[in-house]
Subunit: 774 residues, 2 copies
Amino acid sequence: MSYAIEPWQLRWQGLAVDQLHRTESTFALSNGHIGMRGTLEEGEPRGLPGTYLNGFHEQHQLPYGEKGYGYPEAGQTVVNVTDGKIIRLLVEDEPLDMRYGNAIEHERTLDFRSGTLRRRTLWESPTGRRVIVRSERLVSFTQRAVAAIRYEVEPMDDVQLVVQSDLLANEPIQSRSNDPRVAAALDSPLVNDFMTAEKTRAVLCHRTKASGLRMAAAMDHEIDVAGSSDVRTEIRAEDDLARFTAAADVAAGSSLKLTKYLGYGWSGKRSTPALRAQVEAALAGACQTGWDGLLAEQREFLDNFWQVADIEVDGDDQLQQAIRFALFHIIQAGARGETRAIPGKGLTGPGYDGHAFWDTEMFVLPVLTYTLPDAARDALRWRHSTLDAARDRAEVLGLKGAAFPWRSINGAECSAYWPAGTAAFHVSGDVAYATQQYLNATNDEDFDREEATEILVETARLWASLGHHDPHDGFRIDGVTGPDEYSAIVDNNVYTNLIAQQNLRAAADAAERNPGRTDATEDEIAAWRRAADAMAIPYDDMLRVHPQADNFTKHAEWDFENTPEDKYPLLLHFPYFDLYRKQVVKQADLVLAMHVRGDAFTAEEKARNFAYYEARTVRDSSLSAGTQAVLAAEVGHLDLAYDYLVEAAFTDLHDLHNNVNNGLHMASLAGSWTALVAGFGGMRDHGGELTFAPRLPDALTRFSFRMCFRGTRIAVEVREAEATYRIVDGAKLETRHHGEPITITADQPVTMPIPAAPRLERPALPFGREPRGR
Amino acid sequence: MSYAIEPWQLRWQGLAVDQLHRTESTFALSNGHIGMRGTLEEGEPRGLPGTYLNGFHEQHQLPYGEKGYGYPEAGQTVVNVTDGKIIRLLVEDEPLDMRYGNAIEHERTLDFRSGTLRRRTLWESPTGRRVIVRSERLVSFTQRAVAAIRYEVEPMDDVQLVVQSDLLANEPIQSRSNDPRVAAALDSPLVNDFMTAEKTRAVLCHRTKASGLRMAAAMDHEIDVAGSSDVRTEIRAEDDLARFTAAADVAAGSSLKLTKYLGYGWSGKRSTPALRAQVEAALAGACQTGWDGLLAEQREFLDNFWQVADIEVDGDDQLQQAIRFALFHIIQAGARGETRAIPGKGLTGPGYDGHAFWDTEMFVLPVLTYTLPDAARDALRWRHSTLDAARDRAEVLGLKGAAFPWRSINGAECSAYWPAGTAAFHVSGDVAYATQQYLNATNDEDFDREEATEILVETARLWASLGHHDPHDGFRIDGVTGPDEYSAIVDNNVYTNLIAQQNLRAAADAAERNPGRTDATEDEIAAWRRAADAMAIPYDDMLRVHPQADNFTKHAEWDFENTPEDKYPLLLHFPYFDLYRKQVVKQADLVLAMHVRGDAFTAEEKARNFAYYEARTVRDSSLSAGTQAVLAAEVGHLDLAYDYLVEAAFTDLHDLHNNVNNGLHMASLAGSWTALVAGFGGMRDHGGELTFAPRLPDALTRFSFRMCFRGTRIAVEVREAEATYRIVDGAKLETRHHGEPITITADQPVTMPIPAAPRLERPALPFGREPRGR
């Protein structure tokens, strides 16, 4: 059982209770502020229910067998908030439950253009009564605090129907922690502060016990029973439950239609009455817009998005669907986050405790920067809003400037294992990278002045204090962990050093560009440039490759031949110490450096390095395939690049990591865009210059992608022998095609021939680690 | 207030309640099997009570904020067992409590020759009645399961005296853990299995809740009131208390004399009835020997020991006392351990949870090997008895052979922080080193066949699987942690590699010597020799020193000038990441390599390396000073060596690390022996050859030391210009004096001139880190 292959939607036919944990994630709706997993309206059966408000979390103590100075004491975990999705149905005296009776027909469809999740179920109750249930659900892109559900029941016999629409707080869910204190902190995390219910409307306000955050959820309803005015309704509220009930006799072929409007809000500062007012206002707005109005706004928002961002893939329908699925979820994760983080799982599940990582800046934001730049800006504003926490963290660590956290919800470091957490200082360089990339792609001067310069300067200060000039090698950055999590606490990680180099230079430029916006001195700026110029980049003269960090290429090789498939991911079957000391790479590290700092490598170095690391990279991380696709395409392994694109694109749809129940992998979804646009499209932005080097893989007959750059929307169409660049909207664009300068104007598309790719032999991969995906 | 300076005892005059936490440790008695802290008989006031049975521990779950494969799940903590030291006194209606009334005279004396702790107190009760209380306590070296106390009260008025002698289980003590689960596991850890009390004798049997170990404690009494037969006694037992009570009217000038015999035993296998029988048998033996007999045996044992091991120091009485104090506690820790570990604190306190570390093999065992070799052998037999656990651990880690634990009570790894625990693989090489050293010093062929060969072979297998031949540098051992805990997860730690090299060669020799005792193949043996010959030893050609590991000398320098004294120990004020990436050394590492593998360095290298590391070593570990003394003396800094000797010798007596309340630092006590014998005596045993290179520091007029080697007991006496070597007992000895071969025979002492020491400039030490001690 699987998804139907259709270009603009994701449809699952049939019930498959044992697959609900997957579809709840893939069918999740979100606008970046509210997230709702794709659970059935009736609440059960279910895999893992989940309703999330971006940033709303509970705190708990982090346990340590042996403590160390500077270890974070408080962990944060996303909270499953008051569930407003629930609409239960009683058909005569039988509750609708798909595990009982007979689901004669059942399908659910996530529509990438309407931005809704639809359901159609023909159910026969255990006593033989049949009803058709249709629902459509949305989390509004246009009204940030609003979600809505249209729920329609059409009986095939004359029956009494009772519909119960709930707000349910403290839903019982199985603990995901094996630490009893953490489990206790997250068992019934919400404490009621306020409740009210009147007519069709109810509000519940809660707060968390330890983090002290407050939230409010409200619902209002419209009920319409065709051909009947005898509908009996009631509403009530308790501490953890508000319930609107409607009962009516409905004739065969007639229908009961319930429209449920939901308003959500939370705050760490505002009072309960203020939050109540906020959600009631949101509800009033939603009701005034009405269901049809919300649907229309939703579609318009998405029409606009697809116009800027759509990717067409000819020759692989399944990939076409997967790419749009990916873009749809990226936009859901980022659209209305507004100074909140974009978590690793978006708002699709509780994986990684709801934390945001560097994934945001290095994988998700490039997509948003070139498709919905305001969303990228808002995510960077979240980082900017956490600068105080990052400065505090740097101070605890004995450093200057700002050290952004490895994992966090509110900006405070939550990593309980510092070698793979705090030591991964590249996260601060990644934030700077994304900041610089956004600036360059938008020329957003306000952001440059108000936020970007401070981010760049504070992160540059971090590097200046973290590294040192050494007589042996130049400016060294020692004792850090790069992207590859199968190495840790290494010296001169090439990725880190190159990201730091760019960071230092970008900060120097920004400080000189906006002298009033920073207290950086001339000496400080000069020191940044000096450090950048002297940056140590290790090179192995014997093997003629870049070690991903000092000594890497001297380490023992991993015994791939004797590592069977069931020993992957390796970190679940081998100790860190063994992974760290050997040449086994979890995810693109030096290869990622060759993508984002491709300007620092020659073509020959790229080819040699790529082959070297391909043979040692196991892709136990979902972050890797997209990046490997990019470099594979660049050095000329188009088939391999295509395989990696497929792996990235199907990571969640085919549950390649067996954990999609915890939420979607935003970075992997984004990686499929990157594989296509930066991989086969050859899009690069080194030094601020946008360039392309497209090539068509054998598997496709054509592909096209769209993006915006400094206000200009462009479309690139790639065929086997030529590529066409077209302005969709905006001014002309100067760019390069395979190195050759071209100018595209609004009325003058440019078509260029594509040079033949070097047909290289496919590099050796570790035993058993061929790309997956189909 | 301080200790009186006397050559053969440690005496504290006056009460000083606020110093009890110190004197409880320094006055602790132990035979390596039973340990009793020096608490007052009446139980209170107290710092931290403690009675320990070597190996008797409770288990608890180790918590992790983020788990990793192979992390140990169970922690172990030494348990404060049933306290048999307690003897309470009621003088008329006033309990003797030193916090009330008036301690007119009070002194306690640890006697290094009698092996007892004596007390004399003249106490005036709040109501003005005076008594003299005298006690003497011993933990028997000759009867392993036995301790005894003589308690004598002499009233200065006619009074009624009531004496209560207890066995008290589950003594309430403040939790030392901030993890509630660990604290819970150790709060009242003992569960009663059996109790009995009859006449003057009582037995309590308990078991631990989680580890399921069983123990028994028994007491018997003799009571004697001079000039009175009217003594009323009673005895009773409850779950956690057995109490013998004696009441008598005692005339002024007369006395009440109570002799308490204690028997202790524990087992993980034997039943409660068997344990009861065991302690009752021990008691019967003790009573039969009697108090005077126990005293006589104790003195004879120690007379023998001092005859082999005594050190005389002329010109520094305080140091003389400190050195004998050190030797006395080393012998207490090791004498009767018998296939149990020698914990880092001996049995003097609960520090480090009662765990044994590599301290045993590299610091304590060299002393025992050359003074009480059977004790060294027994400690190595403990390691041998844990080989199965070490093999299991190696297998979990993906390695061959045996990986001994970083910290443990029963042989299973208990370190919850692997970069400073499991990664410190040198511990396995240290066990091999001590094994080889013992073999060489004793020619113990039984041990060679039965235990040593297996230890050497299994540890060699570890190295063979942990390292690899690399085209760049030879046989590399990557990703390990050396002795210096301010570095971790490094490549080619010189100490580790040199210890491994010796281990590999020793295993090859042992396997060839005892071919029937190992399944090692010829190929395997050849591979060990090949790895040893190719061992990578990094060297910095620019600075002309050995980096303690790859890259060390390229790391940033620590800013010592801006690190005030209150920021030490650094690990409590700076994050590991910062310590790890900089050139700051907690404890001798490369310098330790230059001591134990001095054959691998030239004299010039030693001098340059020593100066380099002196400037970067902060001695936040008590393991360091002794080793620094050895190398300082070797390269010619005699004054500095003396300062380090003083620091090592007074670590506990002057509580230099502010934690003597948790127990004594066995390695530091041992380090004072090493500083003297290997430092000023220049004793080395490289390649199995015993050699000397004595030199007298300016601060002394003469010193002498004794040791045994292959059954021959020798004495070395060192004066300014010459040294005399004398056979005390046994055959002739071939050795070297400052490189010159000499032969000492039973009737022919040899006196040799001492070449003048090079008078070198004192090397620079880190700001504020001069040796302490007085």
